[in-house]
Subunit: 272 residues, 2 copies
């Protein structure tokens, strides 16, 4: 089963396109959890257990683990999802990229070591930097297209041959890089009109859409502009607004409330 | 002392611009080393001890450690250089990039956890993704400009307002991003005419130039096209051709021979 098959099966079954980002900040984790062994894993486990009914995917952010040397807890987190919720795919948000032989190492990191089902990849180095990822047929390769941050305009909005860079990236990725049908795009929820524009030139590609909550994106605008004709094709991701909804012992319960509320908003705006 | 001060002090004192990349492939490390505890560290330690007279910097490549869960050995490697050869700065080649709050975590990873003196950064996400790195005045931030791989032409050579993307990146980085004077560029040895072009628009910036040896770049062309007027301003990096010159027990000795030979070639072509 490929990543996209697993994802869509889950999306249909659980009727959700919500993805919970696992980007835990140590200083926001309650003391009762920090006192345990492997506190980052224990925190994630509680979030996963409480929010799983509402999600189509979990997305740990590699930087939050790398900054504090918590690689083992990242491994444990992904394994936990595979063991306990085998229908829910895991996206490793790592935004890796390098020349071919080194990109091969990053593909090993994401897929063999961490056992992620998909990984985010930066396109700046071109095809030979992406190929070690896309060669893994069963995995998802999520190319940064139009990112959610304000400075994404610095280069992504510049024009190449009359087209914005993010469109040039999308066009190349969907034609030349998609030989295994496992390409997805990152398109920020903060740019709904660009989302619509990219949907037009990539009608069948699935988009990972971050930037809800803390960053200000709207579920309704994302659903209106991003859904495919078949009513699928998007993954709406939220991290901090869910996992750190409370910094007290009720964090898992509060995370569940926010995830449920996001799920309801998704349902109300879903034409599926 | 900033990264650039440390680097130039070392370059002048040791009369070298050579950087040895520490990208160890487990299958090329001799059995006698693999049998030890922390074999990746032991391998690096032997390479560092044998090649240090010829280098201005060591550059571990994060992917090679991430792929096999050798983060602790990466920490040990960098600490070993700091302890034993405190005049030699360490560049972490990680090509990280993400939206601001996440980029802050990657800056922590490179500078606080691994204690690197400089890190490579991908510019695709724009200024707010770079600022958490450049805010660290004493650290070097090495922006991918024109990378050494063949597919770098996919986007980096496309034209924005009549200029190639790599020139647009260089111009923005050298003006808007260099408020702390700690920006450097990656420019591949495989593209000497682009190296000359970038030198013209960034006469004072230091370039990290990978792509020698296995990738086919030439020391003479790099020196001719890349040096600043003051005879400095480049770091020529070689990895596999040095560290895996032999896969037998004489690997450290052979690495020294190749490094010395590179150093001689650099000296012969140096107008300093």
């Amino acid at each position: 089963m490929t990543f996209l098959e697993k994802l869509e099966s889950r999306q249909k079954k659980a009727k959700t396109v919500l993805c919970v980002g696992l980007d835990p900040s140590r200083e926001k984790i309650p003391q009762s959890i920090m006192a345990k062994g492997n506190p980052i894993f224990e925190f994630n486990k509680a979030i996963i257990d409480s929010t799983h009914p509402y999600v189509c995917s979990f997305k740990p952010q590699a930087a939050y683990y790398g900054a504090i040397g918590a690689e083992k807890e990242l491994e444990m987190t992904i394994q936990y999802v595979h063991d306990e919720y085998p229908g829910i795919p895991v996206i490793l948000d790592a935004k890796r990229s390098d020349i071919g032989p080194t990109a091969e190492m990053y593909a090993m990191e994401a897929f063999d070591r961490y056992k992620a089902d998909a990984v985010t990849v930066n396109p700046y180095l071109g095809f030979d930097s992406v190929k070690p990822f896309t060669d893994r047929k069963e995995k998802g390769v999520i190319i940064l297209c139009k990112t959610s941050n304000p400075s994404s305009r610095d280069f992504q909005d510049e024009m190449i041959n009359g087209l914005p860079v993010y469109i040039a990236v999308a066009k190349k990725a969907v034609t030349e890089w998609n030989y295994n049908g496992n390409i997805l795009f990152v398109v920020g929820a903060t740019f709904p009109s660009q989302l619509r524009e990219i949907r037009k030139i990539a009608p069948t590609v699935t988009f990972l859409v971050p930037g809800l909550g803390a960053q200000g994106g709207s579920v309704r605008e994302v659903m209106n502009n991003g859904l495919r004709d078949d009513g699928l094709g998007i993954i709406i991701s939220s991290s901090r607004a869910i996992i750190h909804a409370s910094q007290n012992d009720d964090f898992a319960e509060k995370a569940k409330e926010v995830a449920e509320s996001n799920w309801k908003e998704i349902s109300e705006n879903w034409k599926n």
